[in-house]
Amino acid sequence: MRNRTICVAIFWLIVMLFVSQVNAAENIIFELVAKQQTIKVGEPLTIDVVFSVPESHISELPESYDYDLEFFYVEKEGVLIGKVPSFFDKFKINNSQDRQYRATAVLFYDWLERKLLFEVPSNYSVRFGDLSTILTVNVEKPSNVEELALSLISDPNDYFFLGFGSRVHGEKHSETILHLEEVVKRCPETVLAKWCAARLGLEYFKDFEKKHRSIMKFRSAKTQGQIQEPLFDKAHLYLTKGATLPNDFPIREEVLLQLAVAKFINNDLIKANSILDELATKYPNSKYGKKAVKAKAELQEIQHSESAQPKDPNHAED
């Protein structure tokens, strides 16, 4: 842990050095970019927050900027209806040529007021702090199935579990799990269902990891048909569904990484490799994109090692 402390100290020195050298004359404007200008009630809104650092400020761009807490201000017909913490702590470099940084947020639920953000069809405007462009979003009436999905997760605990998982929710109330599973089951094509699936997949995988401390041993036992584990099966199922989320949906990166491990356990090494490739390619600057590179290297080493050993007659690709 001492190394980390030293790292912190060095980092601060670097930060203070470039802070002292900058010319603060130019203001940065955050540009809000949404993939959809129109969403439906109950549909999460994914927003990219983008800014470019002028060359006059700093010549050598850092890989990321940690960002202080900021709020998204959501207005409906000119009236402020929500003030939602951004909850992302980093802007990753997005395009070094344009000196552009990006962070992605999902606006869906007002975590502080504990209510849905886009509750009724209307025109909404969104801004990020005081230095951003204003994004206009048209929220339309939901379809029947979307309305059903929403009705199935009406409890604040459901939303917290969906947004943050058990690490924030604390106890995984069985009711919450049931609610999310019901959404996946009854409204499978909605974005909400895919998000629910992603969260369920990650949580089931955590439970699986706690129960089975060795990936390799479980994989071996499973391969030999010596073990049945519903936790793993559910994790695999939901991670697979969760992976169908749009590429820019933040939770998808983590889902892909765990899905790759699940595929490895299932001996689907081709799929595991392709998922890791996708992760590394689509999200090269993200935490999970970098993890994917390391995981890929580890996977290849295992493959190399296993290929050197005699083939197990019971080993079958799924």
Binding site: V168, G170, S214, V261
Partner: protein
């Protein structure tokens, strides 16, 4: 005289009709000369002018040349044989007859008369009160400005004119019709009321009569603690308000009194007398802690308090037997709100008070002011902590398993690689997470501990650690396989940092806030379930178990904040994420968490320092002050001070003005 002469002649005429009557000499007498209006008790000379030969006092037509004179007062003979007479007038009266009779040898006589008014002081009055003999009054007058006077009048007895030059005045000044003081106004004097004290004013006209005049001023004006409220105390040296401070919030979590905002304003008059009306006014005087924005945008002027609801219970009160008059002042609740009350026995003078005069302390005569009274708030800190670190279950703080040992010295001399035969998962799954930790093995008789040099974080394969030393060699080639792997954590739980008595707690002084620990008796539920890695988002969104043992909520009457001692956060990813989170606040929850183990590990991080920073967030500072943040430097917020306590990551040592403005609010903390 003509009437008397006719009467005399009438008698002579009657005498001519009476055969036995004899004819007398006809005498004429000149009138009595002397003062007709005299002060009682005084002597006066009376005489009949005698200017022979042409104008003798008495004249007999029959030629008598000698006369005898008889002086009478009220019919009694008081003197004779002289044309003059001196009399001492000892009794008051309206028409006391004075006469002198001149008689001649021929039986003739004539009498001259004069009515005398003998005057005393009938009454003396001032300020609506009238003293009369045997009933001397005392009047109370509010002290006036320099040169101010009140009239004092005296009335004669019997009514009518005063004797010339009367009455005379003692301790009052004769009033005049003219500025040259040539024409005194009888019976009228002026009395100066520009200094406090008791004076007896006396009017004298033969006799004396007094009236007591008491000029009263407010001698002392003080703030006094109301009821069983927290005693007012002297304001600390910083900020430089001086005077007294009041804590108007509740005194404890169970206190429900609505009187904590109240304070007595007590005036003591001089001289000490009961029944005196004292008048009061209050002003929101200038905030002395700053004369610049954002704290004090109206400079040296007052009327800059942030709270509302300050008021006086009455604009006047009457002194008791001890000369004390009190009203109740209710302060506003925003910390730093400051007040002065002004009082006078003279309502007119008090009405000359203005905000500007209060600000500059240029007070009208007779008006006195209290010291400044400043509102302070206690920030009641409820201290909860995670319970003792468990030794089993999911939240235990170690990993156990069965090890496989590599050869000593491979891959690094002096070290041994150990395969853990499991995957380090979740919050342990970071490279070198266990660096400097402990690897503990025992064969039943000997327990050995090895320092961890490094660890892997694999996605698929079993993780490995490298320990310093040779476990295989130490156990004679047969090391135990069962192990326990510990991180280098050293913090014992529960832990309850003391902000109240920490030097960091006093950092809130600049905002007139005093952090105070809630007593253990008022905080019966003080341990929460242990969570090895409490997520910062759980705190920020007020979710999860960490605040389940909160005993008290916060209100504007009772500023309460929950500080929970947690172990460490989940932000343990060294893959480019090196930011240590020592504390985090619940944005909407009046609560915060500090991570005790993280704080311990972060170099030089002071626990109380971290908590005070987080308390700052709970007080409304949502953003970190620049520039010491990791944000693009041109997006600085707030003060721009490098030493600001609310800057990010490496906070400074003092709150900046922008922070202070957030804290000094008239609402819930």
């Amino acid at each position: 005289m003509k009437t008397r002469y006719i009467l005399q002649c009438g008698l002579i005429f009657i005498g001519t009709l009476v055969p036995t009557a004899f004819a007398c000499h006809e005498v004429e007498l000149r009138p009595i000369i002397g003062i007709e209006v005299v002060p009682v008790g005084s002597s006066a000379n009376y005489y009949v002018p005698d200017e022979p030969p042409t104008k003798p006092a008495a004249f007999c037509k029959q030629g008598c040349s000698s006369f005898t004179y008889t002086w009478k007062v009220n019919g009694e003979v008081v003197g004779s044989d002289s044309t003059s007479y001196e009399h001492t007038w000892s009794s008051i009266g309206t028409k006391i007859p004075l006469s002198v009779t001149a008689s001649c040898g021929g039986g003739g006589h004539a009498t001259a008369f004069k009515d005398i008014r003998v005057v005393g002081v009938g009454s003396v009055s001032a300020g609506g009160q009238i003293s009369i003999p045997g009933n001397i009054k005392t009047i109370y007058v509010a002290k006036g400005s320099d040169g101010a006077t009140i009239p004092v009048t005296a009335a004669p007895n019997p009514s009518g004119a005063w004797p010339t030059g009367k009455p005379t005045w003692e301790n009052a000044n004769q009033a005049y019709e003219d500025e040259e003081h040539e024409h005194p106004i009888p019976g009228l004097a002026t009395f100066p009321i520009d200094s406090a004290g008791t004076t007896t004013v006396t009017a004298t006209c033969g006799t004396s009569l007094s009236i007591n005049i008491v000029v009263v001023e407010v001698d002392l004006l003080e703030w006094k603690t109301y009821g069983d409220n927290t005693p007012l105390d002297s304001h600390p040296a910083v900020p430089n308000n001086g005077g007294k401070r009041i804590f108007p919030g509740h005194q404890s979590p169970t206190d429900a009194s609505s009187d904590r905002k109240k304070v007595y304003v007590e005036a003591v008059v001089s001289p000490i007398v009961a029944g005196i009306e004292v008048y009061f006014k209050w002003y929101d005087v200038d905030d002395p802690s700053s004369d610049t924005s954002p704290i004090d945008s109206n400079g040296a002027a007052g009327n800059d308090n942030r709270g509302s609801g300050a008021s006086l219970s009455a604009t006047s009160a009457t002194t008791d037997a001890n000369g004390k008059a009190s009203v109740v002042f209710t302060v506003s609740m925003a910390p730093g709100d400051n007040f002065k009350v002004f009082a006078s026995t003279n309502s007119s003078m008090l009405n000359e008070m203005t905000q500007a005069k209060a600000d500059s302390m240029t007070l009208p005569d007779t008006v006195v002011a209290t010291e400044m009274l400043t509102t302070w708030r206690k920030l009641w800190v409820e201290r909860d902590s995670m319970e003792t670190i468990p030794t089993s279950g999911n939240e235990k703080n170690h990993v156990s398993g069965s090890a496989t040992y590599g050869p000593y010295g491979v891959p690094i001399p002096g070290r041994t690689e150990v395969e853990l035969n499991l995957n380090l998962y979740d919050d342990w799954s970071y490279i070198d997470q266990f660096e400097n930790g402990r690897f503990v093995i025992t064969d039943g008789t000997t327990e050995r501990t090895y320092t961890v040099f490094s660890n892997t974080s694999y996605y698929f394969s079993h993780d490995k650690i490298v320990v310093i030393g040779d476990p295989t060699g130490d156990f004679g080639g047969n090391p135990p396989t069962d192990y326990e792997l510990y991180d280098d954590d050293a913090t014992a739980m529960p832990t309850y940092p003391d902000i109240e008595n920490s030097s960091w707690g006093s950092k809130f002084n600049v905002a007139y806030i005093k952090p105070v620990n809630i007593d253990a008796s008022d905080n019966p539920r003080k341990t929460v379930v242990f969570d090895r890695n409490l997520d910062i988002y759980a705190v920020m969104t007020v979710s999860g178990n960490w605040m389940m043992q909160r005993d008290h909520s916060s209100s504007n009457s009772f500023w309460n904040v929950l500080v929970v001692s947690a172990f460490q956060d989940t932000d343990k990813d060294t893959d480019g994420d090196i930011y240590e989170v020592c504390g985090v606040s619940a944005i909407a929850g009046n609560a915060c968490v500090f991570y005790a183990e993280t704080c311990r590990e972060a170099s030089g991080s002071d626990v109380e320092h971290t908590i005070v920073h987080e308390l700052g967030h709970t007080g409304g500072v949502l953003y970190h002050c620049g520039p010491a943040t990791l944000i693009p430097p041109q997006i600085e917020r707030g003060c721009g001070q490098t030493n600001c306590l609310m800057s990010n990551g490496g906070p400074g040592s003092d709150f900046c003005d922008y922070n202070i403005v957030e804290f000094r609010k008239d609402s819930n903390w």
